[in-house]
Symmetry: C2
Subunit: 342 residues, 2 copies
């Protein structure tokens, strides 16, 4: 029997979405589990009543028996600073929901509210395990295989190697426990497979992870391996990165379906047209990336360039030369330096 | 009249792809422009002969008149270290092609070869403009609007704020000169729109860019804005990030079409089926990202969660509680600490 506390007030579409979600959950959860709706009782009850008005008797019964309302007078806004969650609004739905758990009256807390506040309040009220500096956020990325656990996906924007190593351990347990993966393959996100590739923190973390026991560390993976859910050496269950990279990647991925839909809508749905539309996602078609900052022009093409990509690289090189891009860069930098010394 | 030097030996499919690309380029370039094929003359000539065997007379004529072969005895392999390009193989096709330009005999250099070597050789032979620490790689990302310039996309894995500011200036000129964007909108990639969001380098860079003149700095953008080519404040032409982030993002994006094709193949091509397939790209459908490291369970849902996503968050919360994930994390960390002190 588990009691799940839901922050009924948290999220852009609360309480409508939160209450509706709770009702959906009730239908899927085994009947011994209950949900604690934490927030302003009047708001929660009014919303519940509205949503249950036309519901089937079974749903109404489940709600009556397995939903409880836990009063929390305050609400943390999406724009509140994280510290508000701890000091400013001690009776927020977040703080109350988390305290239920700290006091043994609840088994889990769920919120769609202010993430920074949730991190702060969770750390303050639930505390961290020994040996950790901060919590990490693990997100599931859809992949061609099974979903991949990516962490940290936003909690820690500046990470030392030590923290990346912590994430690896956290992620492995998550993959085992939540995803049911046995001996999950843990990889470090970098800019190349070789241990010596990466920024300073990643290179150090690689050394530690390679020497660490109790972890199925499969080495570095690159960005391309994440949507595949695998690298050359096999499937990947967990991808470790700092929270800045993870957050950028996550939000990027989020927005890709929107782009695809746009492309599909523009192109119709025949197979030929789809291929054309999706081809636009292939960055190699644009070809030729200039090395900027040189006194001259140097265009980098992809190692796997097709003739078409090589041709594009040449066209870019021409354009760079004709437009005198390099001169312009020199001028711009010079004028900046002048501005700075003025 | 411009002369473009092509590293005929560079790339996974050289010289076939490089020569074929050169021939394609000839047909698109105005007739006054020529291409210098740099590499082993015997290899280049044999390949040219083979490709021109069945070609139209116009192509053969163009090749005869506008292609020149420049001898370079050495070839840099994809696995060579960057330093090889400078010291180890002074007569590589890269070094020779770049020297042509340094000596005023060529206007641009194009290579699909070893990127690190190309960076090193380009910097050594062409040199950097004053005020720069290293070159940056700018890549075009396809977007729902026009392609977006993302830089650095791999040259500099550890960047100080100062370098990000340099990238902004480099990218703006690139967008103007190569893409024809007037007064290009330059944005800084971060984990939130607010100036105070980001890692240390990004926050510092934001301050400098906001105060800098001569740049249409539109503030921070998030990962989701990149595939859209725009943020809430309007179109974005240039996105600035460090080379670690840029490289991860680039390779990630590269692999997305592969994933989409896989999804399409599995689902067929009807509109309904496509919607279903693409829905799998929507990470919100997976719902509920746990905050890891806490003595307890705290699940983070997306601020824009649908009822379905909230429900999934609840299910994840349940699974976390039932599997005793948090205890397992504690145990794992404790055993690691023991291992370390042993």
């Amino acid at each position: 029997m588990a009691r799940i506390a839901l922050d009924a007030m948290g999220g852009d579409h609360a309480p409508t979405a939160t209450i509706a979600g709770a009702l959906l959950a009730l239908q899927e959860l085994a009947p011994e589990h209950g949900i604690q709706l934490v927030g302003r009782p009047d708001v929660i009850r009014a919303e519940l009543e509205a949503q249950l008005a036309g519901a089937a008797p079974a749903v109404r019964d489940a709600a009556a028996q397995r939903l409880t309302v836990v009063e929390a007078a305050e609400v943390i806004e999406m724009t509140d600073k994280p510290s508000v969650a701890i000091r400013g609004k001690p009776n927020s739905s977040m703080a109350v929901g988390l305290r239920l758990q700290a006091e043994g009256q609840s088994d889990a807390f769920v919120s769609a509210g202010n993430t920074g506040a949730q991190m702060a309040a969770s750390t303050f009220i639930l505390r961290l395990h020994a040996g950790l500096n901060r919590p990490a956020i693990a997100t599931l990325f859809p992949s061609a295989r099974e979903p991949v656990v990516v962490l940290d996906s936003g909690a820690n924007v500046d990470c030392a190697a030590e923290e990346l190593v912590q994430f690896a351990r956290l992620g492995a347990v998550y993959a085992e426990d939540i995803l049911g993966r046995s001996n999950p393959a843990v990889a470090l996100l970098s800019v190349g497979e070789e241990p010596e590739k990466g920024n300073a923190a990643v290179k150090d973390a690689h050394q530690t992870l390679a020497a660490a026991g109790g972890l199925n560390f499969v080495g570095n993976v690159e960005g391309r391996d994440v949507p595949m859910g695998a690298c050359d050496r096999g499937p990947v269950d967990v991808v470790v990165c700092d929270g800045f990279v993870g957050n950028v990647l996550l939000k990027f991925y989020e927005s890709v379906p929107k782009l695809i839909f746009g492309l599909l809508a523009k192109s119709g749905v025949t197979k030929e047209q789809l291929s054309g539309a999706l081809k636009n996602l292939d960055y190699a078609a644009h070809g030729g990336a200039p090395l900027l900052g040189l006194k001259g022009v140097s265009i980098i093409c992809h190692g796997k360039s097709s003739p078409e990509a090589i041709k594009n690289g040449i066209l870019v090189g021409l354009r760079a030369a004709q437009s005198r891009m390099s001169d312009h860069i020199g001028q711009r930098l010079a004028s900046t330096a002048e501005g700075a010394t003025r």
